[in-house]
């Protein structure tokens, strides 16, 4: 069984079931949406759950993104990331794309709004996709850097393209926290 399916989320935190075979050690760390998802947060050890002791990792914050990795010796053999929330209600994130001549005859304005203003979002969680499924990354460090819970972006499309040809795509991790509406 892979790492993610061995993680059981509880009211206090999570339990990690031991692997079927192999001498593995597990570590975990917390991160936020504004961290680069390719970076590894600072880690602490995880005890595997067993019948006698029933180890469970406490997560103090009411909602967090959790990174877990397993190593054999120094070699990282498996990693996963998931969203943990004590209250099960999801946040909401909406966006709209509209033509805005103010920025040029071919310009479109994207407005993204979400209800956790204190949380900026790393650029890699969101990208623009056209109707041919080409993806265009955001050229910015963070979305919502000013912590207002709203941010606006502009792109230029070839002639003839309309609002309906474009939409935003979000990573799974972001979708675990927010219900996304257009």
């Amino acid at each position: 069984m892979d790492l993610l399916s061995r993680i059981h989320v509880t009211d206090r935190g999570f339990k990690l079931m031991p692997p079927e075979a192999g001498d593995r050690k597990a570590y975990y760390g917390l991160f936020t949406l504004k961290d680069d998802p390719n970076a590894v947060p600072s880690l602490s050890g995880v005890q595997y759950w067993d019948l006698k002791n029933g180890f469970e990792e406490d997560i103090k914050k009411p909602e967090s993104f959790v990174y877990v990795e397993e190593r054999v010796g120094d070699q990282v053999v498996d990693t996963c990331r998931f969203y943990y929330a004590k209250n099960k209600r999801k946040g909401s994130l909406t966006y709209k794309i509209e033509k805005k001549r103010k920025y040029g005859s071919d310009a479109f304005l994207i407005t993204i709004t979400w209800n956790s203003p204190a949380e900026a979002i790393h650029r890699t969680y969101v990208s623009l996709m056209d109707n041919k499924k080409n993806k265009y990354p955001f050229i910015t460090n963070l979305i919502g850097q000013d912590l207002s819970g709203e941010d606006q972006f502009v792109f230029h499309a070839p002639e003839g393209d309309t609002e309906d040809d474009y939409r935003l795509v979000f990573s799974d991790l972001l979708k675990q926290k927010y219900v996304i509406t257009e």
Partner: protein, 490 residues
């Protein structure tokens, strides 16, 4: 009564491994490469290998594709050594190897794994009586121990000044070829019991002189003339695809830059006034833009390296390049001037972003391809020179028979295992193989070979058109008086 000509299938049915432990021996390597195709056999010099080592050696060869597996799983293993190198330790290791190789396939028939031991000796070479006694004892050990290993012991013996093993070596090579065929048992039935045997062969080939001259000329030209002075052909094979990839990379980058207009940028990156509208202010050195571009460059580079192939290099090195070309290539590779010739001519282009790294990686791929396809140059030279010596020796045989009829008349008499004074060969068996023109004219001309009842149509034998192999028993190693009889033969 005319000789009957039967058909014989020559598809290979056994894996053949030849261990040559005779120093300075080179004929077998040439004979085998003449008769067998690549991947059908292994020729290995020296055999310090124990059983396990041999097993791993063969497993590796099979895994690499150096050796083609045969469906029957039959193994034929041949050891060629000097008679005086026979020791107790060698005999122990031989039996150990035989048992170890059974791991490849369960034996359904004792002859599924068959061994030939060729002992080379010149008459009068071993003088010492104690040495003779030691060798006699070992021969008897080989003949009597482990009846569950199928092996045969051959003595390759010549007498006299300028002794020549050629006809016996040829006989062994043909014999190995026959034994690896599917229908071997109909021609050479393997017998239980291990006598000491001898072999001889003779052949006739109408165009032999011409063929030898041609081969010698080809080898001379391979050794001395360049086919690609300056290695321009090879450099082109590398440079052209590299340049092509460079062009593709440019196109991709241009397209990428066009695409960046569609990458969303924060409204803060727009400047302007109310009347003239806003415009994008984004430095091309913007760190995120650079990062995105680097990622993209890495991705297309991986793709371009993947799709660029240098497969023609192998054919060029193998089929076209001669010794001086190969030698020059080895030299230029080691001093780095080859690389410079392949990618440095485009200094202007290389300055552009990402391209230098792309060219470097493509060149590395091409060089890996060269190293993979590169033969062992000095080994190849040695082999070619050995072949040249063989053809030079064969030229002497060229005028031996006037025509086919003359050959059929005399060959039975002339092919005869080495005479040993005061000793009679027993159980002489004759195998005659015919191919090419005489085989196709057999019925029309009503051919008959002196002393041969049945000959076989054997298309795999080239360039010889007829071959006769004679095999005779010298001493029954298991018999009571074996030791006394062995005393006479060397």
């Amino acid at each position: 009564m005319p000789t009957e000509l039967r058909n014989y299938s020559t598809s290979q049915d056994a894996t053949m491994i030849f261990f040559d432990m005779v120093r300075d021996s080179e004929s077998f390597e040439v004979y085998l490469s003449d008769l067998f195709d690549e991947g059908q056999y292994i020729y290995q010099r020296g055999a310090g290998m124990g059983g396990q080592e041999l097993f791993h050696f063969l497993s590796e060869k099979l895994a690499n594709g150096d050796l083609m597996p045969v469906p029957s799983g039959r193994i034929l293993c041949c050891f060629h050594m000097m008679l005086q190198d026979l020791t107790d330790e060698w005999v122990d290791r031989f039996f150990e190897k035989a048992y170890e190789l059974r791991r490849f396939a369960p034996l359904t028939n004792l002859f599924d794994q068959h061994y030939m031991i060729l002992l080379r000796n010149s008459a009068g070479f071993i003088q010492d009586d104690a040495e003779k006694t030691r060798i006699n004892r070992l021969l008897i050990r080989l003949g009597t121990e482990s009846p569950d290993v199928s092996h045969q012991v051959y003595l390759m013996r010549t007498a006299g000044f300028g002794a020549d093993f050629m006809s016996q070596e040829k006989a062994v090579a043909y014999m190995l070829h026959l034994l690896t065929r599917q229908a071997y048992s109909s021609v050479i039935p393997l017998k239980y019991g291990i006598p000491l045997r001898m072999l001889d062969s003779g052949d006739y080939y109408a165009a032999r002189a011409e063929n030898c001259h041609q081969n010698i000329e080809a080898i001379d030209s391979w050794q001395n003339s360049e086919t690609d002075p300056g290695l321009a052909q090879l450099i082109d094979l590398i440079r052209v695809p590299i340049q092509g990839s460079g062009g593709k990379m440019e196109d991709e980058l241009r397209a990428f830059r066009r695409r960046t207009a569609r990458c969303p940028v924060s409204v803060n990156n727009y400047e302007g006034n109310f009347f003239r509208g806003y415009h994008r202010v984004l430095s091309p050195n913007h760190p995120i833009l650079q990062q995105i571009q680097d990622e993209y460059v890495g991705e297309i580079m991986g793709r371009l390296v993947e799709e660029t192939n240098f497969s023609e290099i192998k054919a060029l090195l193998r089929d076209e390049y001669h010794y001086p070309d190969l030698k020059k290539l080895v030299e230029r590779l080691s001093d780095g001037s080859f690389k410079a010739a392949c990618i440095n001519t485009e200094g202007q282009q290389r300055k552009e972003e990402g391209k230098a790294a792309l060219f470097e990686r493509l060149y590395e791929k091409a060089e890996a391809e060269i190293r993979k396809a590169m033969p062992d140059v000095d080994g190849l030279l040695r082999k070619k020179l050995a072949a040249k010596r063989k053809y030079t020796r064969e030229l002497i045989l060229a005028g031996k028979y006037q025509n086919i009829e003359d050959c059929f008349e005399r060959i039975d008499h002339e092919v005869e295992p080495e005479q040993i004074a005061g000793h009679f060969a027993l159980n002489v068996s004759t195998t005659a193989l015919v191919s090419g023109e005489p085989a196709s004219n057999w019925l029309i001309r009503n051919y008959s070979i002196n002393g041969v009842m049945t000959a076989y149509r054997y298309p795999a034998i080239r360039p010889c058109e007829i071959v006769m192999i004679k095999e005779s028993d010298i001493v029954d190693l298991a018999a009571a008086g074996a030791e006394t009889e062995l005393g006479i033969i060397y």
